[in-house]
Amino acid sequence: MAESTDKASEILQFSLTAIAKRNILAVQEYTLLAWQSMANIFTSPRYLGDTLQQADIIGVGSLPIVMLTGFFLGAVLALQSANELARFGGLSFTGQLVSLSMVREIGPVLTGLMVAGRSATGMASELGSMQVTEQIDAMRALGTDPSKKLVTPRVVSTIIMLVVLTVIADLASMFGGSLVAVFMLRLDGNQYWSTAWQSLALDDIVMGLLKPFVFGFIISTIGCYYGMTARGGTQGVGRATTQAMVSASVTLVISDLFITKLLLNFFPNL
């Protein structure tokens, strides 16, 4: 009896050690990939053509979904908030509420989640397919660094395009809110836009534009990491794609809290 308990304890200890080692290795590999993706910017060769191509795929390709979701979210936000604001006689602040909440918080997170769903999965599946068919090894064998050729262009273009997409999503949401305000809440359009515009201070815009930088980095490095480490044929690629989507989205939402707290600590006026 005691012998079997010892054996079970030994197996459990061995399993836990294996899991811990695997996870530490994954964190190490991800950190190295993320660091290398940024360090590559400062060394040649630089792949400007690949970066522009990725910017087109990530930025232009994500434009319709980002505009559409931003528009309807802004409209819903205006509609929901109108009820509460009317109770306090503050219906005229609808524009302010939509613009502030979208620019500071919802715009960056929403755009980040949309791009994570579309691009992190795209990166994981594309690079994963290349990995399992030995195309990544072939690239290394041809003397080209896959980290420079494949990862850095994706990371740089995602960071830049996420900032642009966030601004577009903010504008689309305010436009959606304005349509609700004018046609459903019977508010004056000029009043909506002037309160929405005037309520925005430089601090709000700084916070709204700093977040996409970090989110873009998180989304692209996670997508590339799962792609570059995919194993096990087509099933492995599918698994990598799902993991990339889940990890990127969860990490993005968690990091949002810490970034907000950090920004508020460093810049109390924000």
């Binding site: 060769p45 030995e134 003397g143 660094d145």
Partner: protein, 271 residues
């Protein structure tokens, strides 16, 4: 001395190379040398580490212990960044070709040259030359998905030889192909060996491919390979290496393997 015969300059040296994955020891103190101008054919049952030998030689994987010296540089201790320059002197043909499926044949073959910003005219000339070598000039604008398995292997060979490498690593270039296409591929390997004098490490499951390489020469004037009579230098350029349980079981010429008394080798040679 015939300049085409192997010389005593080592191209690849494996010294007591070992590597294990988890508890599974795949290579156990493996040592061998590939000489300049020589083709060494690697045999062994599935999972014995043949492909691993090629990846180790290319520096794609690091050994747990031992030294690997390729073209005078110790790849087993080099950093990834430093390996890229060395890899440009080596051509590798992967088992499943590993062509970039988003690029057409032209872009696949010229990939390295485009990375080095070679002039477009020079690039096109060399791509046509390499594709002419594998008799696939007409496929320049096709994508890998539009090619047959044999054509993909030939494009992979063109991609590997376009920069005139000093060493070629072939990973089962005839696996899964019909006999006619396999013969075409083997003829290309013989042509590359005899015309361009490139040293090579060949992983294959097909003994007849290696024996064909040992017993044939490419005659450029006739643009085909012909069998050379036994007794001349028919097996001087090709040697055989058989792996078993991660260790070297046999290393020698075609004549030596054909007359070996080792029961495992006899069984291996039996069709």
């Amino acid at each position: 001395m015939d300049a085409s015969l192997p010389t005593q300059d080592p191209v690849i040296i494996f010294e007591d190379v070992s590597i294990a994955f988890d508890e599974n020891k795949v290579l156990d103190r493996l040592s061998f040398t590939l000489w300049h101008g020589q083709t060494k054919a690697l045999f062994g049952v599935a999972g014995t580490g043949k492909t691993l030998v090629l990846k180790l030689a290319m520096g794609l994987i690091k050994p747990d212990s031992g030294r690997i010296i390729v073209l005078g540089q110790e790849v087993s201790s080099m950093r990834e960044h430093d390996l890229f320059a060395l890899r440009r002197r080596i051509g590798m043909i992967f088992q499943e070709s590993a062509l970039f499926d988003s690029l057409n044949v032209d872009d696949n073959v010229s990939f390295r040259m485009r990375e080095e910003h070679v002039a477009p005219e020079e690039c096109e000339r060399r791509v046509r030359e390499a594709l002419h070598f594998v008799e696939l000039e007409h496929t320049m604008n096709l994508y890998p998905s539009e090619l047959s398995g044999g054509m993909r292997r030939r494009v992979a060979i063109a991609r590997a030889i376009v920069n005139n490498p000093e060493l070629l690593l072939y990973d089962s270039p005839t696996a899964g192909l019909d006999p006619m296409t396999s013969t075409t591929i083997v003829e290309l390997l013989v042509k590359q060996r005899d015309v361009n004098k490139t040293s090579a490490l060949l992983v294959t499951h097909r003994l007849q491919d290696a024996f064909t390489m040992a017993t044939h020469r490419f005659i450029p004037a006739q643009n085909k390979m012909v069998e050379v009579p036994r007794g001349s230098d028919w097996d001087s350029k090709t040697s055989f290496l058989i792996l078993k349980d991660g260790q070297k079981l046999f290393e020698g010429s075609a004549a030596e393997i054909a007359t070996s008394d080792d029961p495992y080798i006899r069984e291996y040679l039996t069709p």
